[in-house]
């Protein structure tokens, strides 16, 4: 066998392994959760109840909590990530670029339990005192801020998630920005553009990478477990404002899994939650891919 064939064989083996793993995960999610869908149907997704005493489960608050906290996270993280990327790639003096980049990469690789503890003991009280309470006091008439905040809630979870995903998406954007052919930048400057105009033009050039960074970060935010479980408040109620406590699907799984086997339907319910999370992630990613493709074809 020549090396070309061996190489091809290897690719096939590894590609099919990863496909098999994904397929295996989906299959086991379905096998382990079908009981709850068989019993409750789709009402399992749209019910607001988590009552192990009566074996009654519905994950709507957790699903909404996942979407809300991730939405907060992504809308705070993206402007930060883009600014950080541009600063370190374009504006910062070369001597400190390496420093900024390694700090940001270090932040991206910190274990999430560290973020969780820091979020619970440091971030949550600060946010409560200096941001959430003033917002509630002065802008409480806006429904978004209408709940009297306590330190752990959906907003805190969103901000913590934003801090966790910023370095990650920033490094994707930075790499894309650095990969822009140099002559484009030179051409832009030679046309007499200001620095801001050049940056804006180049950002347009890497639009698809920015979107990809955003969707990958969103995926991480939706799946984040430990850190969120510590700061989200963990109450099974439908959120009415950003400052309400809530739940996310992954924090629900983290909280309830250890004793789930003591019940007949909690395990299927948790697997069902995982399946729903997987589906939502899939839909969002497909929508993202479609969007990126459209952006790219328009140029």
């Amino acid at each position: 066998m020549d090396s070309e064939k061996i190489f091809l064989l290897f690719l096939i083996v590894f590609v099919s392994t990863s496909l098999l793993i994904v397929a295996g995960i989906v299959t086991s999610l379905i096998i382990n959760s079908y009981q709850i869908f068989l019993r409750d149907g789709l009402s399992f997704i749209f019910k607001n109840v988590w009552n192990p005493v009566k074996e009654d489960y519905g994950i709507l608050p957790a699903l909404l909590g996942t979407l809300i906290s991730s939405a907060i996270a992504i809308s705070i993280a993206m402007p930060l990530a883009i600014s950080l990327a541009i600063f370190s790639a374009e504006i910062a003096p070369t001597s400190i670029r390496g420093f900024i980049n390694s700090v940001s990469d270090l932040m991206a690789s910190l274990p999430s339990v560290i973020y969780g503890l820091w979020g619970l003991y440091v971030l949550a009280p600060i946010l409560n005192q200096y941001i959430m309470t003033p917002l509630y006091q002065y802008l409480g008439f806006i429904p978004l801020f209408s709940t009297k905040p306590i330190p752990t809630n959906l907003f805190t979870a969103g901000v913590l998630l934003a801090i966790m995903i910023t370095p990650f998406s920033s490094s994707i954007i930075r790499e894309a920005y650095n990969a822009i052919p140099h002559h484009l930048k030179e051409a832009a400057y030679s046309l007499g553009m200001t620095r801001w105009e050049v940056i804006r033009t180049l950002l347009g050039y890497i639009k698809s990478a920015i979107l990809a960074g955003a969707f990958l970060a969103l995926g991480r935010a939706m799946g984040e477990t430990v850190a969120v479980a510590m700061v989200v408040g963990n109450t099974f109620t439908l959120p009415r404002s950003l400052f309400d406590m809530g739940y996310t699907i992954s924090s629900l799984i983290a909280n309830q899994f250890p004793n789930a086997e003591a019940y007949s339907y909690m395990m299927p319910a948790l697997y069902g939650g995982a399946l729903v999370l997987f589906m939502v992630g899939l839909i969002i990613n497909l929508a993202g891919l479609y969007w990126i493709r459209r952006v790219m074809t328009r140029g």
């Binding site: 061996i6 290897f10 109840v49 005493v53 899994f257 250890p258 004793n259 003591a262």
Partner: protein
């Protein structure tokens, strides 16, 4: 050798290296799969003790054993620090011959792993449920017995009210978690605390968000003292908290999450294991016991509660599910602290391996005697009174090889 030749030979080597790597990976993968398939139902955990050897047996009262081997347990996280402390002390005392491993994975998961036969013993906050107990009984039987006392304390954060000053009754606590009492200056609380200046502030009721034996015992207590709680909510590892629906409840993950939430939220109340209340410096409430006295969870109050229970506790081979914790909370006795709880160990009566039987017997006999002495008790736990330890010691006599 010319440069070109060198490049060629490197290319050759690469090819061989690739082939060798492929073979190694394939071999490792198949070895992994095969070893997994060939594993007896015991799984990875139980294999270790197959290598143990029975040298001589000795009467198991002191640690004079010449036994050696490994036993594996898993379950409740609450007794974990204590079990680890016992295991390492016992490991020292036996000169490293007996190793007891315990994984803290939660009571429910521990029971499940024990049922599957993956571990030799389970640690569990509540005893086995009736149906599972009967399932085991049909298959040779089990024993389950208390190994340590855990106490649940009501903690609060009311600026200006010091620890040990606030008086509460179970009924009032139930009403707070039901959402029927929402302010600290509610007449029901004021009536218990005429001397305190209680503010007109909303009560934030903190509870565990993860399924836990602590919640099981706490809600058993609320069910016992409040008919409304029993009918509306009930008792379990996790319950649906009525106070959450009013927006006044907070869930904290683990004892540490509850402690943090109480600490961070002025005018909050919560329940945690004693150790966490002391280590975080939270204010502890006086609770009215069945005899009408207000008590703190002192060593004496806890011991008094445990002694009062001896009469109602079943034998190790009996079904405990109707007794604990529903019958054991709020015990009689002038000094008794009402929310006192046991943590259990669950063993089979019959094991295949005689070494395992001997080790389990020896270890748990040591735990129930020497292990209960103050120097072997981790801070935050309370030792069993000898009358309660006797349940386990009697039960261990039923262990046998089959």
């Amino acid at each position: 050798m010319s440069f070109l030749d060198e490049v060629k030979s490197v290319g050759m080597y690469t090819k061989y290296i690739v082939v060798i790597a492929a073979v190694v990976i394939a071999a490792l993968a198949s070895a992994f799969v095969l070893s997994y398939l060939w594993m007896p139902t015991g799984g990875i955990g139980s294999r270790e003790s197959a290598t143990t050897a029975l040298t001589t047996t000795s009467p198991a009262t002191h640690v004079t054993t010449t036994l050696s081997g490994v036993v594996n347990g898993a379950g409740a996280s609450f007794p974990n620090p204590q079990i680890q402390a016992w295991a390492s002390k016992f490991y020292e005392l036996t000169g490293g011959r007996i190793q007891v491993n315990y994984q803290s994975i939660g009571s429910g998961a521990g029971q499940a792993k024990f049922r599957e036969g993956v571990v030799d013993f389970a640690g569990s906050d509540p005893p086995l449920k009736s149906d599972i107990y009967n399932e085991f009984k049909a298959k040779g039987g089990i024993i389950q017995f208390p190994i340590i006392i855990g106490t649940i304390v009501i903690v609060y954060n009311i600026p200006g009210v010091e620890s040990g000053k606030l008086r509460l009754t179970g009924e009032v606590v139930a009403k707070i978690y039901l959402g029927e009492i929402s302010y600290w200056d509610d007449p029901a609380i004021k009536a218990l605390n005429p001397d305190l200046n209680l503010p007109h502030e909303k009560i934030i009721a903190v509870h565990r968000s993860d399924g836990s034996g602590t919640t099981r015992v706490f809600t058993a207590y609320l069910s016992k003292v409040s008919e409304a709680w029993k009918n509306k909510v009930g008792s379990d590892f996790t319950v649906s908290w009525p106070v959450d629906e009013l927006g006044n409840g907070v869930g904290g993950k683990g004892n540490e999450g509850v402690s943090a939430a109480v600490k961070q939220n002025p005018y909050s109340i919560g329940y945690v294991e004693t150790a966490y209340a002391y280590s975080t410096g939270l204010a502890i409430a006086l609770i009215r016991n069945r005899d009408g006295n207000y008590v703190l969870p002192t060593k004496e109050a806890v011991a008094s509660a445990a002694k009062a229970l001896v009469k109602v506790l079943p034998k190790a081979d009996e079904d405990w599910s109707h007794i604990f914790p529903d019958q054991t909370v709020d015990p009689p006795g002038k000094e008794s602290y009402p929310i006192t709880s046991f943590s259990f160990v669950i063993l089979r009566q019959v094991y295949d391996d005689p070494v395992k039987v001997a080790i389990l017997k020896e270890f748990f006999e040591w735990v129930l005697t020497e292990g209960q002495k103050p120097e072997n008790i981790v801070e935050g736990y309370d030792p069993l009174p000898p009358e309660v330890a006797a349940i386990g010691l009697d039960g261990l006599k039923l262990l046998r090889t089959g």
